[in-house]
């Protein structure tokens, strides 16, 4: 068998399992797995930027969080109780301010466009993209690379989180936006605990993976890999390295935004914790465990880490140990299996194929 066939079979098997799963699960687990699939989408974005272009963004949580907040604003307003002003805003209203989004609290006019769901969704994808474009432009034009990019993105996520907590009257502060209407499009209501949301997420994952696969298998993918290995050489060959990096970074941000949107739909909340440093860095370990330079590996990594994580945190004995296990995972993955599960799988496949080719040589 050719390697290409094996890879194709792996993708096919993975998505067959993903699409068949809801028939074997109760509604609680359907929802849990849907959330893990959302994380898998995010991991694909990280695999694209880190595994293929060597840009380790430690601030993906910022884009994820923005995506979640944008749609959550629309879904908050979609609840009849929150018409015209969300409940939490009433608590912060000045005594004689009109009960209207235009001027209930300072800055509340920013909520006005979110009365339309489509704007919430669009903003959830575009705002991360634009932020990434501006930040990326500044960083890459200045040839910032390596740890600098990582730390700057990390700090940016931290600032995003602080700003959201700090602007309580506008954002719901520390509690975030928790009271959301279920997503309903064209008369179809998506139930977070039903198959509808699950398939929405699974389909999004499929699209994101296929699109990413398409991108990395073109010439662009090869250039990106070359950039990862040695960007100076690629530059000498006449490629505009900065534009390649900028494109992949924006794409990765948009994917994180999409994941954030879907997270808000499946989990029915958006909170500042989505932008926390530890969450942003955890995302990276999902991709690292699965295999940073394998899109499918990154998906599987996200599913495994989160599955074990949620099992562990439900167990009273394991709960205090889980963060230590997670920490050890960081250390061991990096030390022992830098190419992750996908790398190990590739090694096995190569081993399986070797005896036959040896025999062929002997004959």
């Amino acid at each position: 068998m050719k390697e290409r066939t094996i890879t194709l079979a792996a993708y096919f098997l993975f998505f067959a399992v993903v699409f068949a799963l809801p028939f074997a699960l109760n509604s609680f687990w359907t929802n849990r797995i849907a959330v893990y699939l959302v994380y898998a989408i995010c991991a694909v974005g990280i695999s694209l930027s880190w595994g293929y272009a060597g840009i380790l963004s430690l601030g993906q949580g910022l884009f994820f969080g923005i995506g979640a907040y944008m749609i959550s604003m629309s879904l908050t307003l979609a609840l009849p109780d929150n018409n015209p002003v969300p409940q939490f805003m009433l608590l912060n209203m000045e005594p004689n301010a009109p009960r209207d989004l235009c001027c209930a609290t300072p800055g509340s006019f920013l909520w006005q466009p979110f009365q339309y769901l489509s704007i919430g969704v669009l903003a959830g994808i575009l705002v991360p993209c634009v932020i990434a474009a501006v930040l990326g432009y500044v960083m890459f034009k200045r040839r910032t690379s390596g740890v600098y990019v990582s730390i700057i993105t990390l700090a940016l996520a931290l600032i995003g989180q602080m700003l959201i907590i700090n602007n309580q009257p506008l954002t719901g502060g520390f509690n975030g936006l928790a009271d959301l209407a279920p997503l309903s499009v064209g008369g179809i209501e998506f139930d977070p605990y039903g198959k509808s949301v699950y398939y929405l997420v699974a389909a999004a994952l499929l699209v994101v993976v296929l699109l990413s696969r398409l991108i990395v298998s073109t010439r662009m993918g090869h250039v990106l890999k070359a950039v990862r290995e040695d960007d100076a050489r690629v530059r000498y060959l006449g490629y505009n390295v900065e534009n390649y990096k900028l494109f992949i970074y924006c794409l990765s941000a948009a994917i994180a935004g999409i994941a954030g949107l879907l997270f808000a739909v499946t989990s029915e909340f958006a909170s500042p914790s989505l932008m926390s440093t530890s969450f942003s860095i955890s995302m990276v370990i999902w991709a690292a465990l699965g295999g940073r330079s394998s899109l499918l590996g990154a998906c599987i990594g996200a599913l495994i880490v989160n599955f074990i994580g949620s099992v562990a945190s439900e167990n009273v004995m394991l709960q205090p140990v889980w963060p230590i296990v997670l920490g050890l995972m960081f250390v061991l993955v990096v030390l022992v299996m830098p190419e992750g599960i996908a790398g190990i799988a590739k090694g096995w496949i190569a081993k399986l194929r070797q005896p036959r080719s040896l025999k062929e040589v002997v004959q």
Binding site: M162, P320, L328
Partner: protein, 296 residues
């Protein structure tokens, strides 16, 4: 004026933490994300030593240095050394270490799992008693200067001088500078670069431990107190120019004051936001930092 003094003490803490980070980054090109946890360990050493041994804040300074340095040495040996040359991987691995250290403190060093309670550890917040002579306020030229803030500044100044002497006047320092400028050539000349790495890492961690003692005097001590310091300190290192001692001093000063003044004028969050924006601006116009060290 009081804002200025507070800014000076913020700058002093930033400087001590950043100095350690700068030495490690300059020598090994490694960002230790567990550096903040060294600050946390320093603070907990103070808590534990004052509770169980009755030690004051002064004797905690060298003790915390030693403990944090030992932790640093262990991290270098176990995790950083095998990852040499793989920059981003080191970032992740040290973050893992940070997670482990935080959680170990939270569950009383792991003894908590067996029901053994250690007073002073755990997820609860702790306060450290500050000796009365440091609690006073001095009136100089019509302004109130809290003695503790001045003490923090003094310690930072002493550590800065000691580090300067160590880096520029000793045999270890010249080897350190040689390794950071041209590792392979230095190693070929018979300098044990691994030993230099380990010592630099330990010294940097020790400095963070001392910063922890100082921080414990005006902030509550908790397992996740250290994390914000790494980012801020890295900002200082980047803004000042890597491998430039004076640059680190000045950029810590500038950033500390910026943060202090913005924080007084509005609030802490905007203080850090402006600080961050400021660093991006610096990097935009001077990508190598404010002070460029003459390197090869």
């Amino acid at each position: 004026m009081e804002t200025f003094v507070i800014g000076l003490s913020i700058a002093s803490i930033l400087f001590i933490v950043a100095l350690g980070l700068a030495i490690v980054y300059g020598t090994m090109k490694v960002i230790n994300l567990a550096h903040g946890e060294m600050v946390m360990i320093g603070a907990y050493v103070t808590v534990l030593a004052s509770k169980h041994l009755g030690l004051g804040i002064y004797s905690c300074l060298p003790l915390a240095f030693l403990v944090a340095a030992l932790f640093g040495l262990a991290i270098e040996r176990l995790v950083v050394r095998p990852l040499y040359g793989r920059l981003l991987d080191t970032l992740l691995a040290t973050w893992g270490i940070a997670l482990i250290l935080q959680q170990l403190i939270r569950i009383h060093f792991g003894f908590g799992l067996f029901g053994i309670h250690i007073d002073g550890l755990g997820s609860d917040l702790q306060n450290v008693p500050v000796p009365p002579e440091l609690q006073q306020t001095l009136h100089i030229l019509g302004t109130n200067i809290p003695v503790y803030r001045a003490f923090v500044f003094g310690v930072a100044a002493v550590l800065g001088l000691v580090s300067w002497w160590l880096i520029y006047k000793t045999r270890f320092g010249s080897q350190l500078r040689a390794v950071s400028a041209a590792r392979d050539i230095t190693a070929a000349c018979g300098v044990n670069d691994k030993r230099i790495n380990a010592l630099a890492f330990a010294y940097g961690s020790g400095l963070a431990g001392v910063a922890g003692v100082l921080v414990s005097g005006f902030k509550t001590v908790s397992p996740d107190m250290g994390a914000p310091y790494v980012i801020d300190a890295f900002m200082v290192v980047v803004a000042g120019g890597v491998g430039h001692l004076l640059g680190t001093v000045l950029s810590a000063g500038i950033l500390g004051e910026v943060q202090s003044f913005v924080a007084t004028w509005s609030n802490d969050v905007y203080g850090r936001t402006v600080l961050f924006a400021f660093v991006i601006l610096i990097l935009l116009f001077k990508p190598q930092g404010l002070f460029v060290s003459r390197n090869r």
